[in-house]
C-alpha cells in the first residue's frame, strides 16, 4: 500500500489555491470583449404577459441587445427538459407542461425570466431592465398544495388540478392485510419543510460563440457539465456536442442546486450567437433565493401497523410533494424513486405501500437538495417509530432493535424495490448509543433541570441509497439518461498521471481523493497524480456529481482504467524482462518476474511505452492511456445512527443543540479527514432544517424568506462540535466497496433533533413539533400544552 493511498488522511491539493485567493470560480473569469447580462424577472407569482415593451430600454446607455421569450420562440428554441418520466397509477405518463427559458405567455413564479438585457456593464444592463415596460394581468396564485389541488387556478392549462402525477409503489393488498391483523396502529401527519439550498457561490455563467468555427463555450456553475451539454444541446438549443463546450470551473458548493439545467444557461448561450460577444451573468443572492431550485416540501400522512409485541407488520404512506411551477431536471424522481423506495428504512417491515401525488404551484421549482428524497423518508420513519414507542409505552431503543434488519439477512429485498446488499444497523446503533453515553442521559437531564433547562435526547437510525444504478434499471423506471461514470487514466512518459473524471468536485476534494485511488493502484505518491474534471473538451463524458455518487460510481471507473493500464504495462514489462506475462507481478509500484530479482519500476515501463525501442509492437500499441466506463450493479447503501441532545429554554423556546453523535457506515474510507468533513457539513444542514431553516411564501406567492435577513442559515454559534465516526461494513456492490458520504449527515440528522426536542418537552405534554423548531414555535407549543394540561 502507498503512504498516500486508500485510508490516508492526506491534506487536500485543492486548498493551496483556495487559501491564497487563486481559485477560479465562474465570476472570477473574464473574457476579452465580454458584455454583461441582467435578467428581468417577474415580480408576480402568476400573471398573463400581455406585452413586453423594450423600446425605451433598448435606447438606454450601453445596451447591446434585449431579448424576450418571443424572440427565443421565433428561433424555435425548445423548452427546458425534465430528466425523468414518472407514470401515474393507471400507467399514463406524468403531466409534463412546457418550460420556456424566457416566459412566453405567462409567468409562473416570482423570479420567472421575462427578458435578458445585454449591455457593456452590469450596471447598465440592470438600469436598462428597469425601463422595460411589462403589462402583466395578474392571475390568482396557487401556492399551498391543497389550494393548488383544488384546481381553482391552473399553473399550466395542460395539468388539470395542478397535478403532475399520482404514483404508487409497494403492495397495497398485502399492506391492507397487515393492517387488518394489527394489534396497534400508530399514525402521524407531518411536513418536510421547504428549504433553500444556498451554496455560498451564487450561480453564474459566461457564454461565448466563435463565428469562425460555429462553436459555443459556456462556463457555468454546474455539478455536471456533460449533463448540461446533453440537455441544453440536444433538447433546448439543438447544438451538437462537438460544437458545444461546457466548463464547470471551481464551483463554490452545490448541494444539488447546481445539478439542474437552468434557463439562464440556455438564454446566455443562445444570445451569445446573436450579439457575437461573450456574455457574463452572475446571480445576486436575492436571485439565488428566488430562482435556485428549492428542496423538500412534502406533506405526509403515514400509518404503522404493529403486533402486540411491537413487531412492525405494515407501513402505509400518502405523500403530497410540491414540484413548483415547472418540472426541474430531477424534480419528478426525487419524491418517488429517491424517496419511497427507502421506506423500509433499517427495518424488516414485511408490507409497505406508498402513494405520492406531486403538485404544480406558483413557486420556484423544487428538486434535489442534499439527500433528495432520503431525508424526507428518514424523517418520516424515525418520527413515526419514535411516536410508536411513546404511544405504546415502549423503549425507543428496544423497539428499533426488535425491528431492525439483522446482519445475516443481507442481501435484503425490501418490499419497495430495493435490494440492500450489505449493512449492519444494529452495530452502528450500538456504537452510537455507546458514544453518546445514552445510558447516562437521565443524569444529564436532571442536571439541566436544576439550571431551568429541559433536556431531551433523540435517535435516528437510517439507511439511504447512493449512486443510482444500474442504468438499465433506472431507465426502466423512467430515467432519460444512463447513470454510469467514465474515467481516463493517462500515464505520462515519466510516470506521472493525469486522471480525467466525469464527476465534478465543488468542495468534496476529488482532486485529493481520486489521486489517492491512483496512488494506491500504481504504488506512486499521490502528488504525481493530477485530477482533471469539469471541462467537456477534456473529459470524454460523465454524469457529474450528485447523490453521493462520485466515489461509488466514478471511483470504480478510475480503478477499472488503472487496471487496464496495469494489464498493458505487464505486457510491456514481460517483453523487456523476457518473461511470460503470466509470470509478471505488479506490487508497490514494481513489475517483477515471480521468483527472480528481475524488476522494472512503474516509471520505467511508462517510459518504454512512449519510447518503444524494445517493445512488443506487433502485439500492443505504444502509449499508456486508458479509458473506462463503469455502470454500477446496484445502488450503494450507506447507513448509521445519529443521536442528538438538546436543551430547551422553557421561557424563550430557544433550542440549543448540545451534543450530536453520528456513527455512519459509508463502507471503505479513502480519506478519513475528508469523510469527516463531509459528515460535518451534512449535519449542519440537517440541524439547520430541523431548527432554523424554512422557506415561506405568502398566499400571493411572494417569497418572504428571500434574503439572509429572513432565511436563517446555520451560523457557527448555532451548532455544537460534532462527534463523528465511521464504522464501515464491507460488501458494497462496487469494487472499492465504498458507499458514499456526501449526504448521510443531512439524511440522518433532522429526526434525531426533532425527536430530542419532543423528548425534552414531553414532561410538559408536548407530543409534536414541526420543522423548523423555531423559538416561537417551541414557546407556542409549551404554552398550548400547559393551557391544555391546566384545563384537564
Amino acid at each position: 500500500m502507498s503512504a498516500t493511498g486508500i485510508g490516508a488522511s492526506i491534506k487536500r491539493v485543492e486548498d493551496l489555491r483556495f487559501l491564497t485567493g487563486n481559485g477560479h470560480y465562474t465570476d472570477d473569469i473574464n473574457q476579452l470583449d465580454q458584455s454583461h447580462a441582467w435578467i428581468l424577472r417577474s415580480p408576480h407569482a402568476h400573471a398573463k404577459l400581455n406585452s413586453v415593451d423594450t423600446s425605451k430600454a433598448a435606447a438606454a446607455p450601453g445596451v447591446i441587445a434585449i431579448f424576450t421569450g418571443a424572440d427565443m420562440a421565433a428561433d424555435g428554441v425548445g423548452g427546458i427538459p425534465c430528466g425523468w418520466q414518472i407514470h401515474n397509477k393507471d400507467g399514463s405518463p406524468m403531466a409534463e407542461p412546457g418550460h420556456p427559458a424566457l416566459a412566453v405567455d405567462k409567468v409562473r413564479h416570482v423570479g420567472d425570466q421575462v427578458a435578458i438585457v445585454i449591455a457593456e456593464t452590469r450596471d447598465q444592463a440592470r438600469d436598462a431592465a428597469e425601463l422595460i415596460a411589462v403589462d402583466y394581468a395578474v392571475l390568482p396564485a396557487a401556492i399551498d398544495m391543497d389550494t393548488a389541488l383544488s384546481g381553482a387556478s391552473l399553473v399550466h392549462d395542460d395539468a388539470p388540478n395542478n397535478r403532475c402525477f399520482d404514483w404508487e409503489i409497494g403492495d397495497r393488498d398485502a399492506t391492507e392485510a397487515a393492517f387488518a391483523k394489527a394489534d396497534h396502529v400508530v399514525s402521524i401527519d407531518l411536513a418536510n419543510n421547504r428549504l433553500i439550498p444556498n451554496a455560498m457561490e451564487p450561480r453564474a455563467a459566461i457564454s461565448e460563440f466563435d463565428r469562425s468555427t460555429g462553436r459555443y463555450t459556456l462556463h457555468t456553475t454546474t455539478q455536471n457539465p456533460h449533463v448540461i451539454r446533453l440537455l441544453m444541446g440536444a433538447f433546448v438549443l439543438q447544438i451538437p456536442e462537438h460544437k458545444l463546450r461546457i466548463v464547470a470551473p471551481d464551483v463554490g458548493g452545490g448541494f444539488g442546486s447546481k445539478i439542474f439545467h437552468y434557463a439562464e444557461e440556455a438564454i446566455l448561450t443562445w444570445a451569445a450567437a446573436k450579439v457575437h460577444r461573450p456574455i457574463k451573468w452572475t446571480a445576486e443572492r436575492s436571485e439565488s433565493f428566488m430562482t435556485d431550485a428549492h428542496g423538500r416540501d412534502h406533506e405526509t400522512h403515514a400509518d404503522l401497523a404493529l403486533d402486540k409485541d411491537g413487531k412492525f407488520l405494515g407501513l402505509r404512506v400518502a405523500t403530497k410533494a410540491n414540484v413548483g411551477a415547472y418540472l426541474s431536471t430531477f424534480g419528478s424522481s426525487v419524491p418517488t424513486y429517491l424517496y419511497a423506495t427507502l421506506l423500509a428504512g433499517v427495518y424488516a417491515t414485511p408490507a409497505i405501500y406508498a402513494e405520492v401525488q406531486t403538485v404544480f404551484t406558483n413557486t420556484v421549482p423544487v428538486d434535489a437538495y442534499r439527500g433528495a428524497g432520503r431525508p424526507e423518508c428518514t424523517y418520516l420513519l424515525e418520527r413515526l417509530v419514535t411516536k410508536a414507542a411513546r404511544d405504546l409505552g415502549m423503549d425507543p431503543v428496544e423497539l428499533r432493535q426488535k425491528n431492525m434488519i439483522q446482519p445475516d439477512q443481507y442481501p435484503y429485498q425490501t418490499p419497495v424495490a430495493l435490494e440492500y446488499d450489505c449493512g449492519d444497523s444494529p452495530a452502528t446503533f450500538a456504537s452510537a448509543l455507546k458514544a453518546s453515553d445514552y445510558a447516562g442521559f437521565e443524569a444529564r437531564r436532571g442536571a439541566a433541570e436544576k439550571n431551568g433547562k429541559l433536556r431531551g435526547i433523540g435517535i435516528s437510525t437510517y439507511v439511504e441509497a447512493c449512486g443510482i444504478a444500474p442504468s438499465a434499471v433506472a431507465g426502466a423506471l423512467g430515467a432519460r439518461a444512463g447513470l454510469y461514470e467514465s474515467a481516463q487514466v493517462r500515464v505520462h512518459p515519466t510516470g506521472s498521471v493525469t486522471v480525467y473524471t466525469g464527476t465534478h468536485s465543488h468542495g468534496q476534494g476529488h482532486e485529493t481523493t481520486f489521486a489517492q485511488l491512483v496512488s494506491e493502484s500504481f504504488g506512486i505518491p499521490a502528488d504525481l497524480v493530477e485530477v482533471s474534471h469539469g471541462d467537456t473538451d477534456q473529459v470524454q463524458f460523465g454524469m457529474g456529481t450528485y447523490g453521493s455518487r462520485s466515489l461509488a460510481v466514478g471511483g470504480p471507473a478510475i480503478l477499472k482504467a488503472c487496471n487496464k493500464v496495469i494489464d498493458k504495462a505487464k505486457k510491456i514489462a514481460a517483453h523487456i524482462l523476457e518473461a511470460d506475462v503470466s509470470d509478471i507481478e505488479f506490487a508497490d509500484g514494481k513489475f517483477t518476474v515471480v521468483g527472480t530479482d528481475k524488476e522494472m519500476a512503474f516509471a520505467e515501463v511508462s517510459l518504454a511505452a512512449y519510447v518503444p525501442h524494445n517493445y512488443p509492437i506487433e502485439e500492443i500499441e505504444p502509449g499508456l492511456d486508458e479509458n473506462a466506463f463503469y455502470d454500477p450493479l446496484n445502488f450503494s447503501f450507506p447507513g448509521g445512527a445519529h443521536i442528538c441532545e438538546v436543551e430547551v429554554d422553557p421561557d424563550t423556546g430557544h433550542v440549543e443543540v448540545i451534543d450530536f453523535t453520528a456513527v455512519d457506515d459509508v463502507g471503505r474510507v479513502v480519506n478519513p479527514m475528508i469523510v469527516e468533513g463531509q459528515v460535518h457539513g451534512g449535519l449542519a444542514q440537517g440541524v439547520g432544517q430541523a431548527v432554523l431553516e424554512g422557506c415561506v411564501y405568502d398566499a400571493d406567492g411572494q417569497l418572504l424568506t428571500g434574503s439572509y435577513m429572513d432565511y436563517t442559515m446555520p451560523r457557527a454559534d448555532d451548532l455544537p462540535n460534532f462527534s463523528v465516526s465511521t464504522q464501515g461494513v464491507m460488501g458494497a456492490s462496487n469494487p472499492l466497496e465504498v458507499k458514499g458520504v456526501g449526504e448521510v449527515g443531512a439524511i440522518g440528522s433532522p429526526p434525531a433533533v426533532i425527536n430530542a426536542i419532543i423528548d425534552a418537552l414531553s414532561p410538559l405534554g408536548v407530543t409534536d413539533i414541526s420543522m423548523p423548531a423555531t423559538p416561537n414555535k417551541v414557546w407556542q407549543a409549551i404554552q398550548a400544552s400547559s393551557v391544555r394540561q391546566a384545563a384537564e
Binding site: 487559501l19 465543488h506 468542495g507 451560523r715
Partner: protein, 155 residues
C-alpha cells in the same frame, strides 16, 4: 468618473470608477483580485471580508471612494511567497475549507479576531463568526482551524 487610489497588499493602486462602485468591485473588477468573493447582497455572508487599515471589514458595505487613501489587505496579500500565513496553514492542516468560497472571508475575519483576542475560546470563535456564513463545513473544522491558527500565531 472619479479616480480612487489606495494601497492594496502593499502596492499603490488607482483606478477610475463610477461613484457607486463598491470596494469589493474595485478589488475584483478593477484590480483583478478575485480572491475576495461576493456571496450576498445584504452584507451578511462575510465572503468579502478584507482588512482596511488593519481592521476586518465587509468590502461590500463600503464604497471604493470611502477607501480613498486606505491601506487594504486581501487574501492575496497574506502568504509570504510560497509560505502560507500561519492562519492559512491552520485551515489547510485542519480541513477548514471545502468549496473554498467562504474561505478568504473566514481567514481574514479570523485574523482580526486573533489580533484583538490572541487566545480565544471555542465559544468566542463561534460568536465572532456570526457574520461569516459557510454552507460546506458545518463550521466544526473552521473553528478548529482558527483555534490552531491562533495558537500558532501566539508562538
Amino acid at each position: 468618473m472619479p479616480t480612487v487610489s489606495m494601497t492594496v497588499n502593499g502596492k499603490s493602486v488607482s483606478a477610475e470608477v463610477e461613484p457607486r462602485t463598491l470596494l469589493v468591485q474595485y478589488l475584483r473588477e478593477h484590480l483583478g483580485l478575485t480572491g475576495t468573493h461576493v456571496g450576498c447582497d445584504t452584507s451578511q455572508c462575510g465572503a468579502c471580508v478584507v482588512h482596511v487599515n488593519g481592521e476586518s471589514l465587509k468590502s461590500c458595505t463600503m464604497l471604493a471612494g470611502q477607501a480613498e487613501g486606505a491601506d487594504v489587505t486581501t487574501i492575496e496579500g497574506l502568504a509570504n511567497g510560497d509560505d502560507l500565513h500561519p492562519m492559512q496553514e491552520a485551515f489547510r492542516e485542519n480541513h477548514g475549507l471545502q468549496c473554498g468560497f467562504c474561505t478568504p472571508g473566514m481567514v481574514m475575519s479570523a485574523l482580526d479576531l486573533v489580533k484583538q483576542n490572541p487566545d480565544p475560546s471555542e465559544k468566542e470563535v463561534r460568536e465572532w463568526l456570526e457574520g461569516n456564513l459557510c454552507r460546506c463545513t458545518g463550521y466544526h473544522n473552521i473553528v478548529k482551524s482558527i483555534l490552531a491558527g491562533a495558537e500558532a500565531l501566539r508562538g
